[in-house]
Point group: C2
Chain length 489, copies 2
């Protein structure tokens, strides 16, 4: 069965009539690509809620398999907690409430009855999970406790919403919540978390920057927040992961204690860290081009498409295509033959739009030579002998992945510049990320944000990015703290 | 990391102090097993909402992989639609509203703002999906459209709630929604759906009965409903899957039309079918015993546990255990060594409680013989040579699965009896399912339910179960319709 969810865009089966705006019109290109490539349907009749088309959902499944694999292999276990949080639990942690009260959806009625206790749709699950952790954590031997869940969460966004980026239903929130014996153990876990996320993004061929958010931008209720950002094609950064050291702030509120080896009751130390479907937004935006999606092979729903080139000798060519398909499929790759009635050019167009990493063309001439033509989505066309097809495709996959990562990393680094005054920053953040000295005082930081009209991402974890010194552009104090500033989503 | 979520039940790591009530006290046994075996935690502070413990969630993941595999291999594609349904869409289909209005949760506020449009938490997703199908379905060539999603749904249950069975948040609702050109095509799909579900349950070693629900018990808005039931240990049936022929009832309301080959606009025919985490309730309840869970190997988080039997010669035995573990793991099975400090008896107890299908014991005597002792959770202890270990375990897995299915099927069939009057039915439904002639008139059917105090499941699909004749116990008319009656969850 075909994914027909955007049949309105087709002239007839397999032929797409809509073309994309150029990627330089990023916002237009992004919205149009989501619809045309059948990632998401934006026509659901509530603002900020979108539908995952089957093709988009298939990418999502592959991407989330990677994060599961990385978490499962680093001692995390998956669980699931309820969506609905009773008002009294939600309201327990003062900082946390302040951070979320304006954007929480409330369930007030069941049927026609008014509920005795209002229920919040989780904006994030601290207040759903920690009452259970109070029951689960007893002894130092129970620690560390590393649990995650992948669930839907909700924010009543009043700002402009945007598919995969700013949502009222975050459909795919991966949140981990860990408990530790000491503050330092929790700090180590925060470091591990950002490294897992960087590994995750490198599997998507997406380069990232990790920084410590300034105090005024940390998670409500946290000691500090580390964040993972990517640079989007329009020069803005997108926060695609965060890891928070919660200290014992929530442990105090929710009475999460453990007995140490001396038999004393000690407040636990906690962290939480999350990634949402913004990872898909980054993946699509960073790699896509004027022809559509470009997917790293690991997450492409179809990794190889075979296009028969027919000039009368149809039967033999189709047999050869099926033969090649069997060989490729047998090696465990996801392959399909496009034997629709469309012209080859139209098929190329369609599968390029879908980001298919490798296209194999087989025509009568190839049959004679016992070879096929292989075309990479990232460029490059070669003849390859049929009996080398699987290793050659796998080699191409690696080249595509590395090429995507390298290209994105080069672009990212070319867009980061050390600036020495705020005018320079103001100019540079139009296209990238500015590095700038800062004295470290909150008052100066807030004034820098005010003057530039952009945010401070924080102090970078990468020592290369943090290296430098100068004077604070507001108070003029000499400093060796370098912060990153950018326009942000 | 260990799943410590019920550490309160342990004396020390690995030793469980709590014992189960006998399975003959089914309700007690069920509640206690969920908690003791770390399937679900029932202590979440809202009625009808429960927490999936990591161990339980791991079973869930394996079970849902099977349903995904079966759907994906029969032409279905996975998508995802929003949780929140605007009131005006939800209220469109009159029958449907009547069926759900008393049990829908309503979101009325975002932050402190009253929402302009109230939002329903989906109790099921017809009214979220069909406005999109209106946009997606254009031509006969788009059909059939077979889409499913696995999501959380909500019911404001006022009755007694029970984990996995009667929930306010159904965390794992697999719902498929299909569109067809003709009524007959849709009827075929309903048949396919119940067969997929029967196949799914047979993979869980759970025998099922399919029947056509009486008209007064069909899905609100459907032409008819087919249901899949299982027999629980207390003699009640549990509905574990349904498939509904929706005719063009929803297509009329949501204007889902396609253009046929003659260029005419035709109302589409639809079906929907669903399965929830009740499948896990059935799995646990039907196979479990006085010692705890009994899991079919395919869905067991740990399939093989190795217990070292130590008498001083620890090092060699532990080396042998690791060696055997590597061999088993290499073959793709899920295996662990329990090398905790607990006594072997206590370890047996623990892993039996968790339903681990195969236990391998290795002691000094086994080392000498180059063999191990294999014990099946369903009974049977044998010595097996180490070099045959993988095929012997796989053989044991098949035996366990077949044995579970056969035992359950025998019990089910021994509990189905043809009855000829309602007193006999009333007596028989205490322990099983009654077959009874019925004239087919709704008035008589409702009176039968009233007199017996139990429900009519409907007319069975299996011709063996439907065979027979007699007179309607209410009106006395001769009939060859046989219906099933049972106490139901």
């Amino acid at each position: 069965m075909k994914d027909i969810s955007h049949s309105t865009n087709r002239k007839k089966s397999g032929e797409i009539s809509r073309t994309l705006p150029p990627k330089s019109d990023f916002s237009e290109w992004y919205n149009e690509l989501l619809q045309t490539a059948s990632i998401m349907d934006v026509r659901y009749p509530v603002k900020g809620l979108y539908v995952w088309n089957p093709f988009g959902f298939s990418i999502r499944s592959k991407v989330y398999s990677i994060i599961r694999e990385l978490l499962d292999s680093t001692g995390h276990i998956e669980a699931q907690f309820p969506l609905l949080i009773p008002e009294h639990e939600f309201m327990k942690e003062a900082e946390h409430i302040k951070g979320f009260e304006d954007e929480v959806y409330w369930v007030t009625h069941g049927g026609t009855d008014m509920l005795d206790v209002k229920l919040a749709l989780r904006p994030t699950s601290e207040t759903a999970i920690y009452p259970m952790y109070k029951l689960w954590v007893r002894s130092h031997s129970d620690l560390p406790l590393l649990i995650y869940q992948i669930v839907n969460t909700f924010r009543y966004e009043t700002k402009h919403t945007r598919p995969l980026i700013r949502l009222r239903e975050i459909t795919s929130f991966k949140e981990a919540h860990t408990v530790h014996a000491t503050w330092d153990d929790a700090a180590d876990q925060v470091k591990k978390a950002t490294h897992i996320y960087q590994e995750f993004y490198s599997r998507l061929a997406v380069p990232t920057i990790v920084s410590k958010r300034p105090d005024w931008d940390k998670f409500p209720g946290a000691d500090y927040t580390m964040a993972v950002d990517v640079l989007m094609p329009d020069g803005k950064t997108l926060q695609v992961g965060t890891a928070h050291h919660l200290g014992d702030n929530f442990a105090q509120t929710f009475e999460i204690k453990y007995e140490n080896e001396e038999g004393e009751q000690i407040l636990a130390q906690q962290t939480c860290y999350g990634v949402s479907e913004r990872c898909i937004a980054a993946l699509i935006s960073i790699h896509g081009d004027n022809n559509g999606l470009v997917l790293p092979p690991e997450v492409a729903p179809t990794q190889v498409v075979i296009i028969p080139i027919l000039f009368g000798s149809d039967k033999e060519v189709l047999m050869a295509c099926n033969n090649v398909k069997d060989i490729i499929q047998h090696s465990g790759l996801r392959v399909t033959i496009d034997d629709s009635d469309a012209r080859p050019g139209s098929k190329y167009f369609k599968w390029e739009l879908k980001g298919t990493p490798v296209r194999i063309e087989i025509g009568p001439r190839d049959l004679k030579n016992n070879s096929v033509v292989m075309v990479k989505r990232t460029g490059g066309k070669t003849n390859i002998p049929i009996d080398e097809i699987v290793p050659r495709i796998n080699k191409a996959f690696k080249e595509i992945h590395d090429n995507l990562f390298e290209t994105a990393a080069q672009l990212l680094h070319s867009r980061i510049r050390l600036c020495f005054d705020l005018d320079e920053v103001k100019d540079h953040v139009k296209t990238g990320i500015a590095r700038i000295p800062w004295c470290g005082e909150q008052a100066c930081g807030l004034e820098m944000e005010e003057i530039v009209g952009s945010g401070i991402l924080g102090t970078p974890e990468d020592p290369e990015l943090g290296k430098g010194n100068g004077t604070c552009p507001v108070c003029g104090k000499p400093t060796d703290i370098i912060v990153l500033m950018a326009r942000t989503y």
